[in-house]
């Protein structure tokens, strides 16, 4: 019934179309009768410009491509249809083949009969028919293709990196060492990120500061790195190769040039403030401060809301004692504009707020601590000089309970696994035991110690005599039920290995809180024109094959901003992102798909319906001529304006109305005609 398609759309001779059907081994041929499809195409699509139809085992192989090139040269094909896998896999391959044979690559169209046919259908007849329909659609479409030239854009060799955690630091150093300029923007007064707060790192337990500080310093001193701390990105314009980024450099109230970082100001400042960022709320800092002695740059900032001078107009202790007179109370925010070719986002994570789980008592029971608090407690440079003590500041705990998966793997909070908590908890178990000799209990759902040397570390902690109780903790309470619970924190949990409820009295509870995206990750994503998952993690281009790039050309992601990960993974991803950017820079320019919208002025009625539609501000209206114009440099090719234009005055190259209308007709010729005949 299907071959009966005489006297359909007027046959027209000027197109010479070649149709190439791929077996893909048995991937396609196993379900779709490729030979029949090819013959059908040769016969039934003749009047629609198909001059040759071939099937071949692997079209993507070089003999396969040779077939196409040969036909283009010998039969003078001016359109090519390749029915094979998804264009996202091999479109480039076949376009290149056409180009090699002197045919404009954009006159080649791919039809997906693997991902969309053979792999998802079992009924061979139906699959074969669908393949035919798809090809019919492709043929109609390609007849309306026109030669296009790719858009070539130069790549500005400078790179912007947002976030000065370990991932951002790694990227910055890789690119700077390769000899290209990097702008590193950090929101806090110093780079270093969360890693700078840690004492030891799993599984090797080497000191975090010892491995991080050198990297921080080389960032601070690197000739190719412009370090912009206490700064935030406000606006991003332009496109890959040529971004123009607006950065707000918040007023430090300190002249960075003059300041020597001697630290006398911090010493003399009379105002003590609880440090909720670096010390995780456990320690104090002054109103003029650097987060830590290792800060890079070693230049303090004045915390205006807490500074006595801004409150009362007096004090100026810092100013008085500052030898080089670097204090600038009247300093204003600066707005900088950076021109860069590529951007790496490494904005990191935030700790889950454990106060959201009231039955674990954080914020209500003094001796319940979060993981970040313990990092500071165990840190030799921390508020207790590395002594693990309870909230009273002196007592050493004799028994400690560590609760895993706090806020993770729980539909009430975050349903994902925060990846690092298991290992971090094991680390705490070791450190606490080592420093205090306390008996440590771990309360876990599953122990996830994947990756190199991780499980070995788990074994080690087991050997140290740490207790492991498998079960999700119900609550932490200070209400005793008997004498030996009095004055303790009681952890109520079902031991799922024993199948019994247990109440375990401890002195101190550590909540291994999960990782969450930055509160403002969605706004950041919007600023940079990338997308966020429902949870708020940045979405990578491909979950497996491209976890570094984003859907937006020229913007890459690294570290926890993309999803929970540990230090090695963050470093790896940071380096990978840098490698990608370097590749781009080396090429000096890159070709973009020529998918753009443009206005046919004669047709434009000046109705302005399209004007409000462009999120990239590519559409401008000329009051004088009363017509709209689209800036091809800014246009990203989404086609929304094309669809909206009531006058049909806007055309979208690559996806024009003609092409899509034709494809619709083509796809449907298959089933409409026979009935038309019967009717």
């Amino acid at each position: 019934m299907t071959d009966n398609i005489e006297n359909t759309s007027p046959s027209d001779a000027q197109e010479k179309i070649g149709v190439y059907v791929c077996h893909c081994g048995t991937n396609i041929a196993g379900v779709v009768d490729v030979v029949q499809v090819a013959n059908w195409a040769a016969q039934s699509l003749k009047h629609r410009g198909v001059v040759i139809a071939r099937e071949y085992k692997f079209m993507c192989s070089s003999p396969g491509q040779d077939l196409i090139e040969k036909d283009i040269k010998e039969l003078g094909l001016n359109r090519v249809i390749v029915a094979a896998c998804s264009p996202h896999l091999h479109e480039k391959t076949f376009r290149t083949a056409c180009a090699n044979a002197g045919l404009n690559p954009y006159l080649c169209e791919m039809v997906s009969i693997r991902e969309q046919v053979s792999w998802v259908h079992t009924d061979k007849v139906a699959a074969t028919e669908k393949a035919k329909a798809a090809i019919s659609g492709g043929v109609e479409r390609v007849r309306h293709h026109v030669p296009l030239q790719p858009i070539i854009v130069p790549i500005n060799p400078a790179t912007l990196i947002v976030g000065g955690g370990i991932a951002g630091i790694q990227s910055a150093l890789e690119i700077a060492d390769a000899g290209f300029h990097v702008y590193l923007v950090e929101r806090e007064p110093s780079i270093g990120g969360h890693m700078a707060q840690f004492d030891k790192t799993f599984p090797t337990l080497d000191c975090s500061a010892c491995i991080l500080t050198p990297k921080m310093n080389s960032v601070g001193t690197h000739p190719n790195i412009t370090l912009l701390t206490w700064s935030e990105v406000e606006k991003v314009d332009g496109y890959v190769g040529n971004f123009s980024v607006t950065v707000r450099k918040k007023a430090r109230k300190v002249d960075e040039e003059l300041c020597t970082g001697c630290g006398i100001c911090q010493e003399k400042c009379p105002k003590k403030v609880i440090d909720n960022v670096f010390e995780a709320g456990l320690g104090y800092r002054k109103a003029i401060y650097t987060p830590s002695p290792q800060s890079v740059p070693n230049r303090p900032v004045i915390d205006v809301p807490n500074c006595t001078y801004y409150e009362k107009g007096t004090c100026k202790a810092c100013d008085i004692f500052c030898a080089p007179k670097a204090i600038r109370f009247d300093q204003e925010d600066q707005i900088l504009t950076l021109n860069v070719g590529n951007i790496i986002l490494a904005t990191g994570y935030e700790l889950f707020d454990a106060r959201r789980i009231p039955n674990y008592g954080y914020g209500r029971l003094p001796n319940v601590f979060t993981s970040l608090e313990i990092e500071r407690l165990t840190n030799a440079a921390g508020p207790t000089n590395g002594n693990v003590v309870m909230r009273d500041g002196k007592t050493t705990p004799k028994t400690v309970g560590i609760i895993h998966c706090v806020g993770s793997r729980d539909k009430n909070y975050n349903n994902y696994c925060s990846v690092i908590c298991c290992m971090q908890s094991l680390k705490f178990a070791h450190l606490v035991h080592e420093r205090t000799g306390a008996q440590v209990y771990n309360f876990y759902i599953d122990i996830r110690a994947a990756f190199k040397d991780y499980d070995e570390f788990y074994q080690r902690v087991l050997d140290e005599g740490t207790m492991f109780v498998r079960g999700k903790v119900a609550e932490v309470t200070d209400v005793p039920r008997n004498e030996n619970e009095r004055g303790k924190l009681i952890i109520q949990v079902e031991d799922t290995l024993v199948g019994k409820q247990r109440r375990i009295p401890v002195d101190m509870v550590i909540l291994s809180a999960g990782l969450e995206p930055r509160k403002d990750s969605k706004e950041v994503a919007k600023t940079f024109g990338i997308s966020c998952s429902v949870n708020g993690w940045f979405i990578e281009k491909h979950p497996k094959l491209d976890p570094i790039a984003t859907m937006t050309e020229g913007i890459f992601i690294a570290g926890c901003a993309q999803g929970p990960k540990d230090i090695p993974a963050s470093v790896a991803q940071g380096a990978a992102a840098a490698a990608r950017v370097l590749g781009r820079i080396e090429q000096k320019e890159m070709a973009l798909e020529p998918v753009r919208a443009s206005v046919i002025e004669e047709k434009c009625s000046g109705c302005r319906i399209c004007n409000g539609l462009c999120p990239f501000n590519a559409i401008t209206f000329h009051e004088d001529r009363m017509v709209t114009e689209i800036n091809p440099a800014l246009c990203q090719g989404c086609g929304t304006c094309v669809a909206a234009c009531p006058a049909g005055a806007i055309t979208g190259t690559g996806f024009s109305n003609d092409q899509i209308m034709a494809q619709i007709e083509g796809l449907l010729m298959m089933n409409i005609e026979p009935e038309a005949v019967t009717a």
Binding site: N359, R409, D410, K411, N412, K472, A474
Partner: protein, 130 residues
């Protein structure tokens, strides 16, 4: 397995404090599961030695009779049957409650008992259909 589950007295011990609901990481509404198990056990006549089913039934009878709960009747009937020995200890409380008129000697009956009975009758028919 079904029998085992329905004979279990766990659902009858559940006081439906709903702690499990708000804590369950999988958002499972456990008390409703318990209620359903109780209903099924009652239907299947599999309820085993537990005073709870009796108490529930007595309560329900009272409500179906008067449209209101009747603590005095409920308490006396229930304790006589299940905790005759406790009555002694209960006396002070019972007396106290009566003295303070916190327990009515006669049940209160709603006006439109006919309507309520009709509704419950229809409801039971519908329940049976399911």
């Amino acid at each position: 397995m079904r029998e085992e589950a329905l004979k279990s007295n766990t659902p009858w011990i559940c006081v439906s404090c709903y702690h499990c609901v708000v804590r369950c990481p999988q958002n499972i509404h456990i008390p409703d599961v318990m209620y359903t198990l109780k209903d099924m056990a009652v239907q299947a006549k599999l309820v085993q030695d537990s005073t709870a089913p009796d108490f529930s039934q007595t309560f329900v009878d009272m409500v179906e009779e008067y449209g209101r709960s009747f603590e005095m009747g409920l308490a006396s009937r229930h304790y006589m049957k299940h905790f005759p020995l406790r009555l002694a200890n209960m006396m002070p409380m019972g007396m106290g409650m009566l003295a303070r008129k916190r327990m009515n000697l006669a049940p209160t009956r709603i006006k439109n008992m006919k309507q309520l009975k009709a509704i419950l009758k229809r409801a039971k028919e519908l329940e049976a259909k399911q």
